[in-house]
Amino acid sequence: MKLKLGAGLLLVIALVVLIGPMFAAFDAETIHWDDMAVAPDAVYWMGTDVMGRDLFIRTLQGGRVSLMVGLLATMVSVFIGVSYGMLAGYMGASTDAIMMRTVDVLYALPFLFLVILLMAFFGQQLWLLFAAIGGYLWLDMARIVRGQTMALKAQEFVEAAHAIGQQKRAILVKHILPNLRGVVIVYATLTVPQVIMIESFLSFLGLGVQEPMTSWGALVNEGADNMDLAPWSLWFPALFLCLTLVGFNSVGDGLRDRWDPSMQKSK
C-alpha cells in the first residue's frame, strides 16, 4: 500500500517534470521586465520571481536537475558504500581496520575543499557534481553497512553457510546482502533529500548548477531570500521538494517491508 502510493507519487512528479515544460508558455530564461514578482495567475501559473522569470517552467526544469542529481548521486553512494562496507565488515581484522581508518581520513577532508578542487581540475560539469556528492556521501553508507555486516556475520546462519562449504563470495551475496537490503534502502531514501540539499548549497556558492539553469534547492534558496516580495517563489519549489521526499520515504519503507518475509502475510 505504502509502496504503491509512494511509487505513484514519484511517478506523477517525474511525469510532470518531464512533460510539463512542453505546455509552458514561456521559457525559463526570459525575463519579463513588466511582470516582476507577479502572484500566480492565469498567465503565470506559479507566478514570476523577483527578476520576472516564469516560475512554472523554472520549477519544472529545476526538478529535472534535482531529481537527476538526487538519484544518481544516491546510486553512486549506495554502490560504493555497500560494497566497501560489506567487504570491511566481513573481512574484519586488519583489512577492516585499514579500510575504516581510510574512511576516517576521508571524513576529515573538508567536503567543500574536495568539490572546489574537482571543479578546478575538471571544470564545472554536472556529472562531476554527481560524482562529488556521491563520492562524499558513501562514507556514511559504508559505516552503516559495515556495522550491520559485522552483526550479521556473527549470526549462526552465516556460520552454518560456512559449515556446509559455501564460498565467501556466495555468503556475501546470498546471505549478507539480502539481509542488508532493508537498512540500505531506508538509508538511501534519506540520502536523496540530503543530496538535493547539498546540491542547492553548492549552487548557492556558485559551485553547483549555474544560472540560468536551476534546481529545486536553488529555487528554495532564492525563494527564501525573497519571501517578503514573492512568497510563492518559495511555495512551489518547496511543495515539489516535500512531495518528492514523502514519495521517496514511502517507497523506502514499502520496499523494506516487501523485502522482509516476516512482514508478509502468511500464504
Binding site: 546462519f157 552454518a160 559449515a163 556446509i164 562449504g165 546470498k174 539480502p178 518475509p261
Partner: protein, 572 residues
C-alpha cells in the same frame, strides 16, 4: 481441585485474552481460573505459546492493548479487581504489591546504570525513601539475596556481574518493596544448571522468610518439583489440570501432563526413545497409552571396538586479549586448553560443562570453523587443519554442525527450500533443479515436516520446527559426522524430547556419529555413549555415560550432578 477460598491473595476467574493479528483473532488464554493463597507457591506449567506468560502479564495489566484484549474474566488481588483499576492505581501495585522476575537477566537490567542505583530506584519510587535510606536498604537487600561484598557490588555495572548474580539483582529489585506476590517468568531457563539450583534455593528461602506468595512460570516440570505447593498445567490456552504438586507428580490425570512428566530424560532408567506428549494424546485430544515397546528400556551398545572416526590431539584454541592503540596482545583466554580425545564411528560423544567452559569453541575448532592455536584434528585419517580451501569445502560435506539457536541459524530471507537446497548446489552440482527440490522435499519429510512447506520462510515456524529445518540442512550433504552444539537447549522440554528422538532415529538410519554438546547432564546422559566433562577449557573427566553418572571421579562432575533438578517433590 482445590476449593477457591475467599481469602485467596490472587484469584483469577474465567480469564480470556485474545490477540488480533493479520491472520485473525487468536485466543491466548481461554477461560482460565486458579487462585494463589497467601504464602503459597503455584507453578504454572506449559509449553511456549500455551498462554502462561500472557496470564502473568494480564495480572500486571501489561498486555499491550491493542492487539491484545481481555475479553472476559476477573483478576482479583487482595479483594480488588485489577482489571477495572485505572492505570494510575495499577502502577502503585506493580512493583510494590506484585512484582515480577523475568527470564533474561542479561537484558532486564539497564546496562548504563549501576546495579545499586537500579535497586534503589524501585525503593525511592514506591517507598518514597531518601537517596541515603534507599542506598542503605539496597546494600541490605543485596546481602539478603546472597551477593558477596554487597557494598562494593552495588557500585558495579550489570556487565561486571555473572549471569547468576544478575538474576540475584533482579530478584533483589523484585522483593525490594516486600511484595505480597512474586511472579517468576522462567527465571532460571537462561541459567546454567548449578546456578539454576542456587537461584531456586534463594527463591525458596526468600519466600519462607518474607511469607510471600509466588506464581512460578516454567516449561519444565522438574524445576518446580520442590518449589511449588500446587501446579497448574496449561495447554493450548486452556488449563488442563490443577493439582497439588505431590498428586501431580504421583498421579497425573490429563494425558498432556503425563506426557510432560515423561518427556524429560532421567539420570537412569530411560526408555529407548523418549516418550512425548504425542504418545499420550492423539492430535484430537484423545488419550492414548504408550505401548510396552515404546517404554522398552534403553540399551547402550558398546561401541569401543568400532573404528576411530575422529581423533583430536592436544588441541588448543586461545583468544588473544588485546589492549592499547595498536592492539598489543596482553594475554590469552584459553577457551580450549590441551584437549585430546577420539570418537568412534557410530558413537555419540557428549560434552558437558557450564557456559564459558569452552565446549562450544571445542566443537567449532574440531570442524575448523574456528582456527586452532595448536594441536591437530584427524577426521578419518585426514588432517583437517592441513587442507587447502577447496579440499576443506569438500571435507565439509562429511562433517556438519547443528546450532543452538533455531532463530539465528536460519537465514530469515531464504525460504526453507532455498536453505536446504544451498548445500546441494555446492556438493552435488550435477543435479538439476527438479531433482534438488525433490531431495529437499524428501529431507523435510525425514525430519518430520510437511514437504508442502518448502516455500515458507523461517519466521512461520516454531522453534522446534526450525531446529528440524536446521537438521534437514545439515543432512542435505549426507554427512557422517555431526556436531550438535546445544541443539536442544533452546527448546521446551516436550519439544526437546521430539528432537532428541529424531536425532536418535537419524543416527540409526544413516549411521551417524555425533558430538553432542550440552549443559544439561540428563540430556547428555540419555543420548551419549561416552561423556566428557569440561571445565575451564580442559576435559576433566571422560568415561562411558553410565560410569560418569554412577561413579563420578572428579569433584566438578559431582557438583554438576548434584545440581540437576531431581523432578521429584520434596515430600516424596
Amino acid at each position: 481441585m482445590t476449593i477457591q477460598s475467599t481469602q485467596a491473595l490472587l484469584s483469577i476467574k474465567d480469564l480470556s485474552v485474545e490477540f488480533t493479528t493479520d491472520a485473525g483473532t487468536v485466543t491466548a488464554v481461554d477461560r482460565l481460573s486458579f487462585a494463589v493463597n497467601p504464602g503459597q507457591t503455584v507453578g504454572l506449567v506449559g509449553e511456549s505459546g500455551s498462554g502462561k506468560s500472557v496470564t502473568a502479564l494480564s495480572i500486571l495489566g501489561l498486555i499491550p492493548q491493542p492487539p491484545g484484549k481481555i475479553t472476559a474474566g476477573q483478576i482479583e488481588f487482595n479483594g480488588t479487581d485489577l482489571l477495572s483499576l485505572p492505570e494510575r492505581q495499577l502502577r502503585k501495585i506493580r512493583g510494590n504489591d506484585i512484582s515480577m522476575v523475568f527470564q533474561e537477566p542479561m537484558t532486564s537490567l539497564n546496562p548504563v546504570f549501576r546495579v545499586g542505583y537500579q535497586i534503589a530506584e524501585v525503593l525511592r519510587l514506591h517507598k518514597k525513601m531518601s537517596k541515603k535510606q534507599a542506598l542503605k536498604r539496597t546494600v541490605e537487600l543485596m546481602d539478603w539475596v546472597g551477593i558477596p561484598e554487597p557494598q562494593r557490588r552495588a557500585r558495579s555495572y550489570p556487565h561486571e556481574l555473572s549471569g547468576g548474580q544478575k538474576q540475584r539483582v533482579m530478584i533483589a529489585m523484585a522483593i525490594a518493596c516486600e511484595p505480597k506476590l512474586l511472579i517468576c517468568d522462567e527465571p532460571t531457563t537462561a541459567l546454567d544448571v548449578t546456578i539454576q539450583q542456587q537461584v531456586l534455593e534463594l527463591l525458596q528461602r526468600l519466600q519462607r522468610e518474607m511469607d510471600m506468595s509466588m506464581l512460578f512460570i516454567t516449561h519444565d516440570l522438574a524445576v518446580i518439583a520442590d518449589l511449588a505447593d500446587e501446579v497448574v498445567v496449561m495447554y493450548r490456552s486452556q488449563k488442563v489440570e490443577q493439582a497439588s504438586t505431590e498428586n501431580m507428580f504421583r498421579h497425573p490425570q490429563h494425558p498432556y501432563s503425563k506426557g510432560l512428566m515423561a518427556c524429560r530424560p532421567q539420570l537412569h532408567d530411560n526408555p529407548r526413545r523418549l516418550l512425548t506428549v504425542a504418545d499420550f494424546m492423539a492430535a484430537d485430544g484423545q488419550e492414548l497409552s504408550p505401548t510396552a515397546e515404546q517404554q522398552a528400556p534403553q540399551v547402550k551398545v558398546d561401541k569401543s571396538s568400532h573404528p576411530v572416526l575422529l581423533e583430536v590431539k592436544q588441541l588448543k584454541t586461545y583468544f588473544p586479549i588485546k589492549s592499547g592503540f595498536f592492539g598489543r596482545i596482553k594475554s590469552h583466554v584459553k577457551a580450549v586448553d590441551d584437549v585430546s580425545f577420539t570418537v568412534k564411528k557410530g558413537e555419540t560423544l557428549g560434552l558437558v560443562g557450564e557456559s564459558g567452559c569452552g565446549k562450544t569453541t571445542l566443537g567449532r575448532t574440531v570442524l575448523n570453523l574456528q582456527a586452532a592455536t595448536a594441536g591437530s584434528v584427524f577426521y578419518d585419517g585426514i588432517d583437517v587443519f592441513a587442507q587447502t580451501p577447496t579440499a576443506m569445502r569438500h571435507l565439509r560435506s562429511r562433517m556438519q554442525i547443528i546450532f543452538q539457536d533455531p532463530y539465528a541459524s536460519l537465514n530469515p530471507r531464504m525460504s526453507v527450500g532455498q536453505t536446504i537446497i544451498e548445500p546441494l548446489c555446492i556438493h552435488q552440482p550435477q543435479l538439476n533443479k527438479q531433482q534438488r527440490w525433490e531431495q529437499a522435499a524428501a529431507l523435510l519429510q525425514q525430519v518430520g515436516l510437511n514437504p508442502d512447506q518448502l516455500n515458507r520462510y523461517p519466521h512461520e515456524f516454531s522453534g522446534g520446527q526450525r531446529q528440524r529445518i536446521a537438521i534437514a540442512r545439515a543432512l542435505a550433504v549426507k554427512p557422517e559426522f555431526i556436531v550438535c552444539d546445544e541443539s536442544v537447549s533452546a527448546l521446551d522440554v516436550s519439544v526437546q524430547a521430539q528432537v532428541l528422538n529424531l536425532l536418535l532415529d537419524l543416527q540409526q538410519q544413516h549411521d551417524l556419529t555425533y558430538i553432542f554438546i550440552s549443559h544439561d547432564l540428563s540430556v547428555v546422559n540419555f543420548i551419549a555413549d561416552r561423556v566428557g566433562v569440561m571445565n575451564q577449557g580442559k576435559i576433566v573427566e571422560l568415561n562411558s555415560a553410565e560410569e560418569i553418572y554412577r561413579n563420578p571421579q572428579n569433584p566438578y562432575t559431582q557438583k554438576l550432578l548434584d545440581a540437576i533438578p531431581k523432578g521429584e517433590p520434596k515430600s516424596i
